[in-house]
C-alpha cells in the first residue's frame, strides 16, 4: 500500500496533501481487503486508516481513510471507491472542514521518584496517565492530529518504550468552529 511511515521524523499533516474520506461500508468479511486492494491496485496511497462498527447496529462499519490526494486526483479515488459494491456512502471531508481526533498511547520508562518533567509535559498537552507500574507509565492523548504530533515530539525527550497512534477519525465541522479546534486552522 506504500503507506508512509507516520511516526518518522517531521510528520506533516499538511492539508494540501491529505484528504479525509469517511466511508460507510457493509460490515462483511473481506470488505477491508477490497478497499485496501483497490488502493494498492490503482496506486493510490493511504496515509492512515481507522475502522469501527458504525452506530449501534452491526450491519455497517465506518472506515476513515486519510488519503494522499497527490497520488491521484481525489475524484478518481472517490470514483473507484464508490464502485466497490460493499461501499455504501462516501463523505469527502476537506481537512479545514473536519473535526478530527486521534488517539495516542505511549509507554514511557520512568522512576517513581522522577516523574515531574513527564507530568509537566503531559499536563501541558492535556494527556492522561492510564496505567502505572514502578518502572513505567502508559499515557494517553485523545486530540487533534497536530496535538498528537506535538506530544509525540515532546515524548522523544523521555525513554519511550512504545508509542501507538490509531489514525484519525473525523466528522464534518458544524456551522461554527469550536474553540478547541482553532489550533487546526492555518
Amino acid at each position: 500500500m506504500n503507506t508512509p511511515e507516520p511516526f518518522a521524523g517531521e510528520v506533516s499533516h499538511s492539508p494540501v496533501r491529505h484528504h479525509i474520506l469517511s466511508v460507510l461500508v457493509e460490515n462483511k468479511s473481506g470488505v477491508l481487503a477490497r478497499i485496501a486492494g483497490m488502493f494498492a491496485r490503482r496506486g493510490f496511497n493511504i496515509y492512515s486508516l481507522a475502522v469501527a462498527p458504525a452506530e449501534s447496529h452491526a450491519r455497517f462499519s465506518r472506515v476513515t481513510i486519510v488519503v494522499d490526494a497527490e497520488s491521484a486526483p481525489l475524484e478518481q479515488i472517490v470514483g473507484q471507491l464508490d464502485k466497490l459494491v460493499n461501499v455504501v456512502a462516501i463523505t469527502d471531508i476537506a481537512p479545514r472542514e473536519a473535526v478530527e481526533r486521534e488517539l495516542l498511547l505511549a509507554t514511557i520508562k520512568t522512576d517513581v521518584g522522577n516523574r515531574t518533567p513527564l507530568l509537566d509535559t503531559l499536563g501541558s498537552a492535556g494527556a492522561a496517565i492510564v496505567d502505572v507500574d514502578p518502572g513505567a507509565v502508559t499515557v494517553m492523548l485523545a486530540g487533534t492530529p497536530a496535538a498528537c504530533d506535538a506530544l509525540e515530539r515532546d515524548l522523544e525527550a523521555f525513554a519511550e518504550v512504545e508509542l501507538h497512534r490509531t489514525g484519525r477519525v473525523a466528522l464534518p465541522r458544524l456551522g461554527r468552529a469550536t474553540p478547541a479546534d482553532e489550533q487546526q486552522k492555518d
Partner: protein, 570 residues
Amino acid sequence: MQLTGAQALIKSLEQQGVDAIFGLPGGAILPVYDPLIDSSIRHILVRHEQGAGHMAEGYAMATGRAGVAMVTSGPGATNIVTPITNAHMDSTPLVVITGQVATSSIGLDAFQECDITGITMGITKHNFLVQSAHELPRAVAAAFHLATTGRPGPVLIDVPKDVAQSTMEWWYPASVDDLDLPGYHPTVALDEAAVARCVALIAQSERPVLYVGGGALKSRASAELLAFAERTRIPVVTTLMARGVFPDSHDQHLGMPGMHGVYAAVTAIQRSDLLIVLGARFDDRVTGKIATFAPGAKVIHVDIDRAEFGKIRRPDVALQTDVATALRAFDAAGAAPRRLDDWWREIRQWQSQYPLVYDEPEANGPLRPQHVIESIARSTPAGTIVASGVGQHQMWTAQHWRFDEPNSWINSGGAGTMGFGVPAAIGAKVGRPDRTVWCIDGDGCFQMTAQELVTARAEGIPIKVAILNNAYLGMVRQWQEMFYDERYSEVYLSADLPDYVKWAEAMGCVGLRATNVKEMNDVIDEAHSINDVPVVIDFRTDSTEKVFPMVPAGASNDDIMVHPSQRGAR
C-alpha cells in the same frame, strides 16, 4: 419446499432464464452437477476451464445477456482467472460459479482449496463466498443484477461443498430490493445542466468526431447513434470494442481509430476540435502518446462509470449515463454543430489519399491474410458473427471485415488474451445458433485453446475456424522486424508443426488447407457447405505481412505509419 443448496443453485439459474452453462465438474462442485441432470439448462462440457470462461464471454458478447460458467475449486477456479480478467477489462457480463471446499475446511489448505474470492477481488465487479444454502438464491440474483447493470462485468459466486449439500426452504428474491446491495446504485439521474453544456459545445464545434466505444454496444445504442449521426452529419469512429455498433457501410463511418486504425479515423481525432466520447475510455491503444492526443479538442465524455472521467483525459463536460440515454437527450435538445462541409472535405481527402490497402496476392504465392479475411467476409451470409484471437489476425479482421450490425464482433480488447477466439466463437454459436459463426484465428492463438473444438464437435456446435497460418507469433515478429533490427527472438512456430488438418480431423472436425488463391476460394465455398460439424481451414499466409497503418507504441498519433505503398505521398 425443501431443496438442497445444489438444487437451489440450479433452480436460481433457471429463474434467471439461463439456457446454457459452460463448465467442467470436479470434487467441490460435484453436488451441483447432480441436479443439473434434471434441469432444462444446457450444459456444455469443456475440455479446459479457460474454454468455459471464454465461451461464456462469447455467448455474452453475441447475445447481450450474461454468460454463465461453472467450474470446481482450486485449479478449476484458477484456470478460469484469465477469462474473468478478460471479461473485467472488456466489461462483459459474466456469472462464474466455482466450487469451494467445505466451510469447515476453508483456511486449512485442504485438497483443491484456493482463495478464489481473494484472487479475483481485483478482476471481478464483485464476488461472493456463500455461507449458507439459504443465501444461494440471493447470491445468484445479485450476481446477475450486478453483472448486467451499470457498467457490466464478471461476478463470481464461490459455493462451498457443504453449502451445496445442506438443505434450505426454497425462496427467491422478489425484487432488486431483496438483494441486500445497499451500496449499489447503477443508474443516476440525468444531469440536465451537463446535457445543456454538451449541446452548447456541439453547437460551437466545427470539427467534431463521435469517438464511440464498447459502452455504446452495452447500452444497445445503435439506433440512437445512427439517428444522431445522420441528423448532425458528425463523423463516426468505432473502437476495437465497438466494431459493428455503427455500420461500416455508412459513409459517415471513418472506421477504427488507434494503433492500427484507419488513417482518416486517427487523423480526424487528432485534428478534431470536439471529441464526443461515447462509452469509450481513452485506451492507450487508441490515444498513443496521451500528451499529443487530439491536442486541440474539447472533450464531452459520456460514460456510465464516473471513475472513467479524468482517468486519462480531463473532460470539458462529463455526463454520467449510458450512451443511448445521452444520445436521446442530445437529440431532444436539438444538439447540432455548424456546417461541417469544410471538415468533411478535409476528411474525404484523407480517406482518398490513405485508404486501407494491402498488396495483391501473387497467383501462386502465399496468401495475403487481408485478402483471406475479405474473401470470407464477402461470402458469408448477412448477420454472420466473427470472433478472433489476439494479434495481427485480430487487427486485420477489425480492419477488413465489414461489420454491419451490433454484437457481430467477438474479440478480446483490453486484456489481449491469445486463444480467446475458438472458445469465444463456440460460445457465440451457442447463444446465436441461427447465425453463421466464423473464428479468424492465428496459428499461435489456435494452439492455445484448440482442444475446445473437441467440445464443439461433441456438443454439435458447428463453427468455422480460419487459421491465418504464417508460422509465426506474427505481431511480435512484426515488432521485432520494425523495432528490434529484425532480430527474431522466439517467434517462429512452423507452418507444418502441428499439422492443422490432421489435428482438426483428430478432433472430429473437417480439416481443409489452402496455399493459393484458387484453393482459398474453393475451401471457403466448401466450408460454407458444411453445417453439421466444425470446419478448420489452414490458410498458408505470407510470414512477412505486417499490419498497417501503425502508430508505434508510445508515439504520437501524428506519427502514424501508413502502408509502404502509400509512403512518400505525404
